[in-house]
Subunit: 551 residues, 2 copies
Amino acid sequence: MAEMKWWGWGLEEIEFTHEDKPELGPFIRRVLGIDADRIVSPPPRFEELTVPESRLPDDLRAQLERAVGPAHVSRDDRDRVVHARGKSLRDIVRQRRGDLPRIPDVVVRPGAEDEVVAIVAAAVAHDAVMIPFGGGSSISGSLEAAPDEARPIVSVDLERLDRVLDIDRVSGLARVQTGVPGPRLEEQLAVQGYTLGHFPDSFTHSTLGGWIATRSSGMQSDRYGDVADQTKGLRVVTPSGMLVTRPVPATSTGPSVRQMVLGSEGRLGIITEATMEVRPLAARRVILGYLFPTFAEGLMAMRDIAASECSVSVTRVSDAAETRFSFATRKDPTLVDKAQSRALRAYLARRGFDTELMALGFIGFEGSADHVRRERRAVGRIVKAHGGLCIGTGPGELYDQKKFDTPYIRDFLLDRGVIGDVSETAMPWSRLAPVYDAVSGAAHGAFDELGVRGYFMCHLSHSYHAGACLYFTFAFAPAPGAGILESYDVAKTAIQQSFVDAGATLSHHHAVGTEHAAWLAQDISEPGAALLRALFDGADPGGHLNPGKIV
Amino acid sequence: MAEMKWWGWGLEEIEFTHEDKPELGPFIRRVLGIDADRIVSPPPRFEELTVPESRLPDDLRAQLERAVGPAHVSRDDRDRVVHARGKSLRDIVRQRRGDLPRIPDVVVRPGAEDEVVAIVAAAVAHDAVMIPFGGGSSISGSLEAAPDEARPIVSVDLERLDRVLDIDRVSGLARVQTGVPGPRLEEQLAVQGYTLGHFPDSFTHSTLGGWIATRSSGMQSDRYGDVADQTKGLRVVTPSGMLVTRPVPATSTGPSVRQMVLGSEGRLGIITEATMEVRPLAARRVILGYLFPTFAEGLMAMRDIAASECSVSVTRVSDAAETRFSFATRKDPTLVDKAQSRALRAYLARRGFDTELMALGFIGFEGSADHVRRERRAVGRIVKAHGGLCIGTGPGELYDQKKFDTPYIRDFLLDRGVIGDVSETAMPWSRLAPVYDAVSGAAHGAFDELGVRGYFMCHLSHSYHAGACLYFTFAFAPAPGAGILESYDVAKTAIQQSFVDAGATLSHHHAVGTEHAAWLAQDISEPGAALLRALFDGADPGGHLNPGKIV
């Protein structure tokens, strides 16, 4: 099995390439002013790094070895470096630089809940810090210890807790160990005819526990719900014992403890097991592509779908810039594709579509054949009312196949000296256009300030009755001589600040960690942040549980 | 306008009667062994009470009068007695007895959010205790001060904060002041073409703020969601400033502060405003009655509906005992009704229904005419597969009209020396039958222990994908010489304990207060209860906010 990259996204063997996408090189040259064929900053070899020594005290090591067995206590350099951080742009840049001030002293891999209990007891007894580790895909800085952390740092990797324990078919509930990564979870459910239906961009490399700890949302969450909706029962190892919430569909037992664990990023304990709502695999599943004359019309169509009696699985529509990017990433088309594409272009021209303004959308349908047929018709009517056009299953199938490849693009860009990153937010439907304008203004303002040619694009990624998630991507090559992270911070800060200034939230599903903590109180108010502080201080007065995250 | 009863449910002018229900008197005699015509313990007159003096310090009074105006600061005896408690069985029995050890020293009625801010500042400055008061319909003991509370007690009645401030039609969001009672809220929304669709049994006498503070659920919540789903933005006055959550559809900003306010029962602050999901009034709305051969078949039908692609507004099915009670509360039927009823009985006999075992159900449909037609057909197929039978709109219309009258029955029974009360819980679908059996066993065990002839009945009141709420009613006349509350406690304790022992939750929508606090840690685990303690202590170190509730 390929190893996880210590310097970028995913597995060592996999990378994104422009070579099979004839339009991408020219597109990158045009919009970013760089040569896609020229690698200017490749990742270093591991051997070039200076890895700090493990500072694990012997007695803590002995206790951890008793807890999980010596084979599952690792002080290996590479293991410790992989576990040092997540995969935020900042994480990756610093890993590539070999900037490793304070990495875990040990990685432990429990194989059972009682082993997690023993780890927590050992860490607390030795005044160590624990950082739970799922798939390591966090892009909010949730996995890194403070650079001045003087106590031993224990990375608790839950990869061995990867089983679906039980499916209650009458209730549609599955009891699952939280270290399971997305694909292995869906495999185990699928053999029994079920799906969780949770597919974040990080799906291949993130885990159930990570989704819960960050309040994740997936591409089909319009149908299946966000992880906060799907998670019912929870088992969490805490310094004061097992925190257990029952897998009941609803409860009126004071402020929801279940909802405190959701999004807790390791600060309340280590989540070992969850009882999740699952559904039978849909008889039919189709994702259709649509074109809208403008992004604004596309957004309004999605709003009308959310307000209708339709229940679709995916709603996504890209702005003009992202639509152009999508078309630029097409693989070398066949002659048939080319002919179809010409015909489509002619048709669009006749309909008065401006290809520079048009917006590409996807809508997913899942359920019985009857349901899918009916929903397609109803959605078709709404799309038509907004001047939109169905372009069939082809683009949707392509989207469906390559949807998990996107995170690899960031490494491709970094190799070429380009910063590429994402930020996302949510807001009421009436605020979509103002927020989009504000964020666009902020990003382009940052590009101007930095004196760079930047690219900025956006799509709506999730719809709810009362609002939606907007997902922004930005990319630019820093000005000659300018620092990468310093340049990045200018753009990232401008965008995050524009979210909260425009009344949106600092993150819809990427969480807080250390990356977004500066904006937390502006979003949830000072007394709101104080509630979180009170909760964490009360649950973990010694600060052993992933200290410094969120607030 | 009629005044609120200080000794029972609802308004002084309204009461439940058996006189227009020819079968009810004989039914009560048969199942409880008492004479419905014989009133043995009428409520006392107010003048018979000994009302404790207000202990409000003059300087606090002066500051409160500056905050809200003298007209809205009341030390009137009746006002203070009405605000002393909610409407639990225990509350009402003690009110009727004139058992008033420690009632509010003052009732203040703010007319604006900044007045609430001034009240909170005054109360904290004078080391007083604040108890927020909405409709006063709590049945979990959330409104009562500790009998030994030495500090001044301020009841903060939000009745003047009763306006819908704004409807965002694009987003389907309404900004609402939280003191608004159900009917006045729905009136204001209806003139603009909207509904919140939140109809708890207490609807006529409960408020939006109360629903939020207790995590309420309504009769149409299958369609509209529980109040926890419907509530987006919140404004809460706290001792450390305004706690504000943004009205975003979803957010990944750590443990959900919104979900901490939901269910907080006044312990985190005074909720002044909420942004709620609202929906256009449905074009069509129908509630159909169904009969099932047994309760078990009825429950399985509801489970299959929840697992299907149907989306209905009401799911309700009663056990055999509640079905018999429902038939006994019919008003004097017309000749046409009688003929229809005879025909139905004959039809049921032919179909092999045992009228002693059959279960009455209601299913509600809301939406476009098309949607309602389609859902009726789909539900009809599921009902049929479980041996059920649609009995048309008549019973559903009756249910719809009298659904808010039920709470008055308790006073009717108390007048006749009978304890009648309710307890409800939620659990996964697979646990419905075992929980029902456990609770039934516990209740009948309690009746045996008390040596009484008791009546016990149940209905499923809410369905979710993964489970449902079971709502239990029990009634009995205490044995001669036995104390009312002592007898009540035996039954109530047995039922609540059976919930948590059987894996269900201590309450689905009635909240914790003081009434259910004894079972909290058994439900949410000791570490879960510790999280709530940490939260409350951190937010309110001085204990000014409704102390002693929940945990």
